[in-house]
């Protein structure tokens, strides 16, 4: 698989490490309650289809990116720098 790093361009999968769903971008407030924190840390959808997840270009520029891809077709739609999309959904 090839992932498009917004800084370095399209690179081989092996340069990246995977974290998980981009929900990790939205850290709850300290007083958001147990349910919100439980959801943030543990509860994940397992979609067949479009998904957005966090990868780090660890063996490259070090950027954390959000990759939009399809778990069924393996098509990669695109990627954005995590630092620039905190406010997107």
């Amino acid at each position: 698989m090839r992932l498009p790093c917004p800084i370095c361009g399209e690179r081989d999968l092996r340069e990246f490490s995977y974290l998980g769903d981009a929900v990790r971008l939205h850290r709850p407030a300290p007083d958001a309650g147990t349910d919100a924190w439980d959801a943030y840390l543990h509860l994940r959808d397992n979609p067949a289809g479009r998904t957005r997840d966090l990868w780090q270009h660890e063996a490259g520029c070090g950027a954390w990116i959000v990759v939009t891809r399809d778990t069924v077709s393996h098509a990669v739609e695109g990627a954005q720098l995590a630092a620039e999309m905190r406010d997107a959904d």
Binding site: M1, A83, E84
Partner: protein, 974 residues
């Protein structure tokens, strides 16, 4: 038999080789297969299951029968296909799957037992008794059925891996591929052209036809020269594209020219292409009839390849059996070469055949008769009755299957084309891939050339280039005309899958037993599951299944083709990852000096660290370790601590950032000071600990443990970029930029002051101070921190000065009664002080557990703080860090052992904790340990029982404070 005046081998260069110990000769340009044909060797192997005698079926990489072992000893290579082995002088070849010899194979008895060994016989026969499967049945079956064996020794051959990128990957260098590559390059695209042969040309090398008025092979050679000289083209011969993967990635296996000195055997390529053209050609398929596996029965196209390319024929009286006009070429070409053509049998009643040989139309070969030396006669069934014809070779063709395998690698399903009775790729099966030429069902040379040009034009336009519209070279455009023929009815076993010994009867039986789905039939009969993946048998097998189940072929469907297209050795895929390549060595700057002092090295992640530094008279590691501990406690010791992770953080918001990632506050740290810090994971458990030094207002250097250096760096980048990107800072790992040494012991300051350009004292450099220093003209960093509990420093210099500084420090220390100390002493020193390592912060412990909950600042937010307060992570039910001392003062304590109340039974349910680290303290003169004990901090002075069932130890221990030496910390500050 070699035919004079035919073939393209170099008859001026004879090569000698052995097969099963007998010496033979061939020529440069021969394959092992063609050289064996030239020497009239027909019997090349024994079949997988029935040990049937087998010879060549094909001339290409799809060969199912002629698998051999090359070489001897550790470098031997099993399961090489004789058709793909380039002959070289001195080559040693052995046949496989036979005992005691190829001619007399005792396991040929399996063939006599064949009525009992049909499809599914394992499942039916070896049901009981259950215990017999592992002990008796499976070993016996494995001995009887099989391919070549590995040597069992470490493989000394070299393998390589490589990466390539292009606009267009052309897969296959026949007329289609060459034309496509040339046209695409002319349009300005970067092209890689891969072909598994030694030279380009594909079928042009195996046929007698003209292109552009010259012999096809000459045209191909000229085209190859043009392509090789073209600046936009990279021609990769001997390279089989093995798989198509996501985003235009392809795997390819390159066999390296065998003569190249010291070259690797194979190279595994990963090629990334914006577009690809599949020009993989087509594979001929046999017809199933009784005894169709006799040596000497070859595919018709293979027979022409042996004749035209290598000038050899596998017999002197040859018959040809087919169902297309294409098969007639074999008869025509053999006759033209002076070989006796005994008959042409065409199953089509309307076939038009001309030639000086007997022709039978509307006829079929129903039996191949003969012995282990090969076919001796064929029995044919004609509209006028049956008759026998004496032959010593038979060319068979059931038509051609487009090589669409790669197109199916991403789960696409091909289309059935009735007019050519074959599957062809459908558009879009692999994104960006266009199939062209024979692999898309165009079988004439003209059809291939024009398809190649058209595919290149399509790709060029797609990528914004203008395609060339030059005229195509003249070439034959003969019609194909096929009438499908899969299996000839009759008694006797008719083989479909030669490599896995699957017959027509097996497939029919599968259908009768209701394994009607093609995927079920495949698994029940094992058809298509051999290393050749059923290249010669899949379509015929599913046609037989379709017939047996009363369905059409398109409804029956195909099984799935998966990578790799040809077998790929694990050694090639894993090239570079063998032995130490699997775990590269990281060496510190003191590595050579430590080894020179005889220090055994111990692995710490990928790093190697000195375990201890033995001295004359020391017989055990404990003696060295005890001496080194004493050295640090009483004099001064030197230890390389460069492997600890070092992260440099700079920026106006660096302090705020560190407040977020550490539990304690770092923003209040003054420049020139160091603070111990604890990091949590977001789930509230301890991630790592280390020191945080503030070198300037907006400049910090933090350390991590050796093991967690990578994980902490990744975590900090995550927190910064994903959670607080508005904070203005940058960070970089500087672990390898600095060599850092602990200088520990009461004489440490004296030692350093002998080296520093400006001496330090308690006022200028108190405990937990840091700052720049100079020694020997080099700018260094000094930290007054201590892992040993002694008055100690760590000094860091740019890594290039590390080796000389270590030598200097050790020499000074030795002159002061000290010296170098290793990991063993380091561990004992920290155990005496109750300092934790990843043995304690192993991922399931919290700040509360290790007694550091007060370090989680109540006044600010930090990563992990919220979840650390969850119920169950704090309280007396938690196992808490404690020290342990054996009651008898001498019994060793063992890491991994469990703790119990003295009167409890030592079993899992009663366990109250466990030992994490243990050692012998020369300072205390007794063993000691750290461990976790339920409500441990409240239980100091209590007795617990340490039990290690594995090592058979049971020791009564007193629970102590985790800090055993100098709990007040006076020595640190002294």
């Amino acid at each position: 038999m070699r035919i004079n005046g035919r073939g393209r081998v170099d008859r001026g260069r004879a090569l000698s080789f052995t097969f099963d110990g007998r010496r033979y000769s061939g020529f440069a340009g021969d394959t092992l297969a063609s050289a064996l044909v030239a020497n009239d060797v027909k019997l090349l192997g024994r079949s997988f299951k029935y040990h049937r005698p087998r010879g060549l079926l094909t001339a290409g990489s799809e060969e199912p029968n002629a698998l051999v072992t090359l070489g001897a000893g550790a470098a031997s290579e099993p399961n090489a296909r004789a058709t793909m082995v380039e002959l070289r002088d001195g080559l040693q070849v052995r046949s496989q799957n036979r005992w005691p010899s190829l001619d007399w194979d005792l396991l040929a008895l399996n063939d006599l037992a064949a009525p009992f060994l049909g499809a599914g016989f394992y499942y039916k026969t070896f049901m009981w008794p259950r215990a017999f499967w592992e002990k008796l049945y499976e070993p016996a079956i494995r001995r009887a059925a099989g391919l070549g064996a590995l040597s069992g020794k470490s493989n000394p051959d070299r393998y390589e891996k490589a990466f390539a990128f292009c606009d267009l990957l052309v897969i296959g260098g026949g007329p289609t591929g060459m034309m496509a590559a040339h046209r695409a390059a002319e349009a300005g695209l970067d092209v890689i052209l891969c072909d598994e042969g030694t030279v380009l040309g594909g079928r042009l090398l195996s046929e007698d036809e003209t292109v552009d008025g010259q012999p096809g092979a000459d045209w191909a050679a000229a085209m190859q020269r043009d392509l090789a000289a073209h600046p936009k083209v990279r021609v990769m011969t001997r390279t089989t594209v093995t798989g198509a993967y996501d985003q235009g990635t392809f795997g390819a296996l390159e066999r390296i020219v065998p003569d190249a000195e010291g070259a690797p055997l194979e190279c595994f390529w990963r090629i990334v292409a914006k577009r690809s053209i599949l020009a993989a050609g087509a594979l001929e398929r046999p017809v199933a009839f009784a005894g169709n596996d006799r040596p000497g029965i070859l595919l018709a196209g293979a027979m022409r390849a042996y004749l035209h390319r290598w000038g050899v024929v596998p017999g002197r009286r040859v018959a040809v059996f087919g169902n297309t006009d294409d098969a007639h070429r074999t008869a025509r070409d053999l006759a033209a070469a002076g070989v006796h053509v005994a008959a042409v049998i065409d199953s089509r009643t309307d076939a038009k055949v001309q030639g000086d040989f007997p022709v039978y139309t509307g006829a079929q070969v129903c039996r191949g008769a003969g012995g282990r030396d090969g076919v001796e006669a064929i029995r044919i069934r004609t509209p006028r009755g049956e008759e026998s014809i004496a032959v010593d070779a038979l060319a068979v063709s059931g038509g051609w299957n487009p090589s669409l395998h790669l197109a199916c690698h991403m789960n696409g399903r091909p289309d059935w084309r009735e007019d050519i009775a074959a599957f062809v790729p459908r558009d879009g099966m692999v994104p960006g891939m266009t199939a062209a030429g024979a692999c898309a069902g165009a079988f004439s040379t003209h059809g291939c050339l024009s398809a190649g040009a058209a595919a290149a034009a399509l790709v060029a336009r797609d990528l914004g280039r203008t395609p060339s519209d030059a005229a195509l070279p003249e070439a034959e455009d003969a019609p194909y005309r096929i009438k499908a023929l899969w299996a000839v009815p009759g008694r006797g076993r008719a083989w479909l899958d030669f490599q896995n010994d699957v017959t027509v009867k097996d497939v029919v039986q599968a259908a009768q037993e209701n394994f009607r789905s093609v995927e079920h039939m495949k698994r029940y009969t094992t058809q298509g599951m051999a290393p050749d993946q059923g290249k010669s048998s899949n379509v015929a097998a599913l046609a037989v299944l379709a017939d047996a189940t009363g369905r059409g072929i398109p409804e029956t469907g195909t099984t799935t083709f998966r990578p790799p297209f040809v077998p790929v050795s694990i050694a090639a895929m894993g090239a570079g990852a063998q032995g130490m390549g699997f775990a590269p060595r990281r060496r510190t700057t003191s590595d050579a000096a430590a080894r020179a002092r005889g220090a055994p090295m111990i692995e710490a992640g990928l790093w190697y660290r000195a375990s201890y530094f033995p001295q004359a008279g020391e017989a055990t590691w404990r003696q060295s370790c005890d001496r080194e501990v004493g050295m640090v406690r009483n004099h001064v010791g030197i230890c390389d601590v460069s492997t600890l992770g070092k992260i440099d953080l700079q920026g106006p918001d660096a302090a705020d950032f560190l407040d977020l990632v550490y539990t304690n506050r770092m923003s209040t740290l003054k420049p020139g000071r160091v603070r111990y810090g604890l990091m949590l994971r977001e789930d509230g458990h301890v991630m790592d600990d280390g020191t945080c030094a503030r070198l300037g207002e907006g400049h910090f250097v933090i350390t991590t443990t050796t093991a967690a250096a990578g994980a902490v760096m990744k975590h900090l980048e995550f927190v910064h970029q994903c959670l607080v990107p508005h904070l203005d800072l940058a960070m970089i790992s500087v672990t390898e930029s600095w060599a850092q040494f602990a200088v520990a012991g009461p004489k440490s300051r004296d030692l350093l002051n002998g080296l520093l350009e400006t001496p330090v004292d308690d006022a200028s450099f108190p405990f937990m101070a840091c700052g720049p220093v100079r020694l020997g003209g080099v700018a260094a960093r000094l930290f007054r921190i201590s892992f040993s509990g002694e008055h100690a420093y760590e000094i860091a210099v740019p890594a290039r000065y590390g080796a000389s500084l270590f030598d200097l420090l050790v020499a000074r220390a030795e002159a002061m009664g000290g010296g170098a100390y290793g990991m063993e002493a380091l561990n004992v020193l920290r155990l005496e002080k109750g300092h934790i390592t990843h043995a304690e912060i192993h991922g399931r412990t919290t700040a509360f557990d290790i007694g550091m909950d007060r370090m989680v600042s109540a006044a600010k937010e930090c990563i992990g703080k919220t979840m650390a307060a969850r119920p169950g992570l704090v309280g007396p039910e938690r196992e808490q860090l404690v020290g342990l001392a054996p009651q008898d003062g001498r019994s060793a304590l063992l890491p991994g052992a469990f703790l119990f109340a003295p009167d409890d039974k030592a079993e899992r349910a009663a366990a109250q904790g466990y030992v994490t680290s243990a050692g012998y303290s020369p300072t205390l003169g007794a063993p000691l340990a750290l461990g976790f004990l339920r409500d441990g901090r409240a239980r100091q002075g209590e007795v617990v029982k340490m039990v290690d069932h594995l090592r058979g130890a049971e020791v009564l221990c007193t629970v102590t404070d985790s800090v055993r030496v100098d709990p007040e910390g006076g020595r640190l500050r002294g």
